[in-house]
Symmetry: C2
Subunit: 356 residues, 2 copies
C-alpha cells in the first residue's frame, strides 16, 4: 500500500517531497547541502514535528558527509555551525532540537573512539537513518495498539494530518487507520478539511486517496452533522502536547470534534508518541496556544476571501481528557485515570529498533 515519503536518505542525497504543492503537484527535491535542508524546513517543504526531527538529523549527517575537513579536529570545529543552521529554522519544533542533540551526542562519542573521518561520517549517516527508522517503528507500534479500537467496518473520522507526511513513518492517527485497514477492517474515513491551512483536504485526503483507503472530504462545520447522522464508529486524531492529566493540545478544531463525538456516543481517541507527553504541566490550562497570522484566515492561497476585518487564528486548542476514551502510544494504551497511566507509560521501556 502507498505510504507517502516526505523524506528519504538516498545515495544521491536527502530527497524531500514538497508538501506545500500538494495535492496538485507531486514534486521532490534532492538536497546535497545541509543549508538546503535547513531552508526546506524553514520554508515548510516538510512539516510535522516528527518529520522535521528526521530532516534535522539527516541535515546534520549531510553536512558532515560533504565536509572537506581533512582531520577529525577540523570536522569537530565545523559541526556546531551545521547544527546551529539547522536549529534556527523552526524555533518551536521540539523534535528538531531533540534530533540535533542526539546527533551531537553521537558525534562526540564517535570522535572520541573512531580511527578515521570516513568511519565517523558513515556512522553519522547511519545515526540519521536510525532516527528515521525509529520514527517508523514508533508509528507502527502506535498503529497496532490503536487498530484494535477501530470498528470492524464503517466510518471513522480524523482531523488535520497526522499521517506519513507528518512523521516519516506511517503516521500516528492515520497509522492507526492504515493498520486497521490492512488487517481487513472495512473503514471509510471522514476527513475534515481543517481550515485555515487545509491539511485535511490537501494532505490527509491525498494520502488516503493514494493509499486506496476510501474517504469522504467534508468541511469543518459538517463534523457534528456526520457524527449525529453518519454512523461513525470512532474518531482518532494526533496530538501536539499531552499534559500530565491527559488534556491534549492538537490542531484547532480537535476540541469540538471530541465534544461532538461524546455527545453522539462515538469514542474519541488520541494517537501520539510518548515524546508528546509533557508531564511537567498538570493540565491543559498550562499549554500556551500559538496565535498565528490572521491573513491565513482572510486569504486562501493568496486569494482574499474576506473583507479587511479582524480575524483570529489560534493554531491549536485543548481537549480536556474527560472527552478522550484512550490514548494510543508506541508503549501501549493509556486510559483514565490518565495521571497514573501516562506516568507509567513514560517510565516504560521504549521498543527497541534494529540498527539501519
Amino acid at each position: 500500500m502507498f505510504v507517502a515519503q516526505p523524506i528519504e536518505w538516498t545515495d544521491k542525497g536527502v530527497v524531500m517531497l514538497d508538501q506545500r504543492r500538494l495535492p496538485t503537484e507531486e514534486i521532490s527535491y534532492t538536497y546535497t547541502d545541509y543549508r538546503e535542508v535547513a531552508q526546506a524546513i524553514r520554508e515548510m517543504v516538510i512539516r510535522g514535528a516528527p518529520a522535521i526531527g528526521v530532516a534535522a538529523a539527516m541535515g546534520a549527517a549531510l553536512g558532515l558527509l560533504h565536509s572537506t575537513a581533512s582531520s577529525i579536529d577540523a570536522l569537530q570545529s565545523e559541526f556546531p555551525e551545521i547544527c546551529d543552521t539547522l536549529a534556527k529554522t523552526r524555533p518551536t519544533a521540539v523534535d528538531l532540537f531533540w534530533a540535533l542533540e542526539r546527533m551531537k551526542r553521537r558525534f562526540a562519542e564517535l570522535c572520541a573512539t573512531s580511527k578515521s573521518l570516513s568511519e565517523i561520517k558513515r556512522a553519522m549517516v547511519e545515526e540519521a537513518k536510525l532516527v528515521h527508522l525509529e520514527k517508523k517503528a514508533t508509528d507502527q507500534a502506535i498503529g497496532e495498539y490503536g487498530a484494535q479500537f477501530m470498528p470492524a467496518q464503517g466510518q471513522v473520522m480524523t482531523q488535520c494530518n497526522a499521517g506519513a507526511l507528518a512523521t516519516g513513518g506511517i503516521g500516528t492517527a492515520l497509522g492507526v487507520i492504515r493498520v486497521a485497514y490492512q488487517q481487513g477492517k472495512k473503514l471509510h474515513v471522514l476527513v475534515p478539511e481543517t481550515r485555515p491551512y487545509l491539511q485535511g483536504s490537501r494532505l490527509t485526503a491525498w494520502e488516503l486517496h493514494k493509499g486506496g483507503i476510501p474517504l469522504t472530504l467534508i468541511t469543518d462545520n459538517m463534523v457534528g452533522h456526520f457524527l449525529k447522522t453518519g454512523k461513525v464508529g470512532a474518531v482518532v486524531t494526533g496530538a501536539d502536547r499531552i499534559a500530565a492529566n491527559g488534556d491534549t493540545a492538537n490542531k484547532i478544531g480537535t476540541y469540538q470534534i471530541a465534544v461532538l463525538a461524546k455527545e453522539n456516543n462515538v469514542p474519541f481517541y488520541i494517537a501520539a508518541p510518548v515524546s508528546t507527553f509533557d508531564l511537567s504541566i498538570p493540565d491543559g490550562d498550562h499549554i500556551p496556544i500559538e496565535e498565528r497570522s490572521a491573513a491565513e484566515v482572510t486569504h486562501l492561497q493568496g486569494l482574499r476571501i474576506a473583507p479587511d476585518v479582524h480575524a483570529a487564528h489560534p493554531a491549536f486548542d485543548v481537549t480536556p481528557s474527560r472527552y478522550i476514551v484512550a490514548i494510543f502510544t508506541e508503549r501501549g494504551v493509556a486510559r483514565a485515570p490518565y495521571t497514573t497511566a501516562l506516568r507509567d507509560l513514560a517510565a516504560a521501556p521504549q521498543p527497541v529498533v534494529a540498527s539501519a
Copy 2:
C-alpha cells in the same frame, strides 16, 4: 447605522447589489425588465429566502409597469408569463412562490375593481413595496424581541448570514444583534466563516464591518475553542425551517455550534419569522437535507483546494430543540415546550404594517 440594501425599488427601476462579488466589490445593477430580475435571482445576484421573495414581488410589478398592453384584458393575459418566468428561478425558495401568489391575488382584485391601466400598475408597484416594508417590519420586531436576550456587553456568536443581505430588512439573527447594539449593548460578534460558501466571511463580516459593529472572523473549527475560552454571552442564528417540536434546520454547522454552546453554558437562540414554521411536520427527522455539489467543497472560487476525491456537501443540518433556549419571532418569543409555544405564535395576529 449602515444597513446593506440587497434590493430597492427606485424611480429608475429595481436596484440590486451583486452579493456574488462581495466583499471585494460593491456593484449594483438597475433592472427595468422583469426578465433581468428573474435572471438575477437565478444567478444569485440576490440570495436569502425573504430577499428573494421581495425580488419576485418587485419583478412582477416591473413586468406590469413596463407592459405595452393597451387594455386591462391584454395586461391580464400577459401577467401569467411574467409570474412564470419569475417562478422558474429558484425552485425551492418558499418565499418566492408566496410572494408571487400574493401579487397574483392583488392583481386579480385590482383588475376586478380598477378603472385604468395606470391605476392597476401604480397599485401593483405599491404592493411590491409593501412586501418589502413588511419584511423590514418583521425583522425589526424579531430584533426587538431578541435584543433583550443579548448580554449587556461582551461577545456573541452567529453563523452564516442571517443579515440585511438575506432579508431586505435589518436581518433576523443580525437584526437581533443590530437592535441590541443600537440599544447601547457593547457587543463584539464572533463570525464563523461558514464553509463552503463563506457567507460568514463574505457577507456577515462585510455587513458588520460596514455597520461599525466590532467583530472577529474565525474559521468554523474555532467555534468550540471560542465558546470554551472566549466568554461568549449568547449565540443567535437564523433558521430555514422549524418543525412543530422546535427542531430547526439551518445552514450546515449550526447543529455543532448549538451543542458546543450548551456544553459551555452559552445560551443558543434562533431568530426567524413565523413563516419559517412548518407545523405540518412533527420533528426535524422529517426535514429533508439538500445535498449540494461536492465541487463547492473541493474548489474555492474556481481554485482547486483538494485532490480529486469524494466530498460531501449537505447544505443544512438539524438542531434538536433541546439545544435551543428560545426562538425569537416577529410575534413574540417561543420557549420550551415548543409544540405549544409555536402553535400559539402561529395563531397569533401578524403585526400590522402601514401601507407604503
